[in-house]
């Protein structure tokens, strides 16, 4: 599994596949304040991105791959501000 869950945050690592989206969504619903750590995330499936976009969470760490960050940041950071 590429996602580590704790009470405070979900840490997404390496490749997050669509198979992990069910669990991610469940965790997000169960943890309305939970933060997202993308520091070690290299890629997430579109479905995971959509789920995170909908959840509008604080991103505690952005991917170190700046090009990947460039793709997803506008969608996720916007939410942070809202």
């Amino acid at each position: 599994m590429a996602i580590d869950y704790s009470e405070e945050r979900a840490v997404l690592k390496s490749l997050v596949t669509i198979q992990e989206v069910d669990d991610l969504q469940e965790w997000l619903i169960a943890h309305p304040q939970g933060e997202i750590d993308l520091g070690e995330c290299e890629h997430m499936h579109t479905a995971a991105l959509q789920t995170l976009t909908s959840a509008r969470r604080m991103i505690s760490a952005w991917p170190s791959d700046t090009s990947f960050r460039g793709w997803i940041e506008p969608l996720l950071v916007k939410q942070e501000a809202q």
């Binding site: 390496s14 490749l15 596949t17 669509i18 198979q19 890629h43 499936h45």
Partner: protein, 123 residues
């Protein structure tokens, strides 16, 4: 971790060729020689990608794709069909049934690696 690719083709020669191309590119490979055998073997496997021939005895590619998409385990698994140049209509039909894309036989090893990288994140 190297990705597992499952290849289905009734031709042992084609299987051997695709297998060696894949292994050359660092993939793990499992095979079956028709749809029935594929479904049987896939019960106990979760490949990252499935490549299937279209024309096979017992169960062909179309039926296999339909069967796989009906299984929750393989709902989202990328599936590439192995087609010949003349089968373009089959490609589209297979796509409608849930195939991700297609390969055109014969597939040079380098093209194969490139295409797999396109459909498989992290490959």
């Amino acid at each position: 971790m190297s990705k597992l690719i499952f290849v289905v083709d009734d031709s042992a020669t084609m299987l051997m060729s695709v297998r060696s191309s894949l292994e050359m590119n660092g993939f793990k490979v499992e095979t079956a020689s028709d749809g029935v055998e594929a479904l049987d073997r896939l019960n106990s496997m979760s490949p990252d990608l499935i490549i299937t021939d279209m024309n096979m005895p017992r169960m062909g590619g179309m039926e296999l794709i339909q069967a796989l998409r009906a299984m929750s385990k393989f709902r989202f698994t990328p599936i590439l069909t192995l087609t010949t140049e003349s089968e373009s209509s089959k490609r589209d039909q297979a796509k409608r049934l849930g195939a991700t894309g297609w390969l055109v036989k014969p597939v040079p090893a380098m093209d194969l690696a490139k295409i797999i990288k396109q459909v498989l994140p992290g490959a």
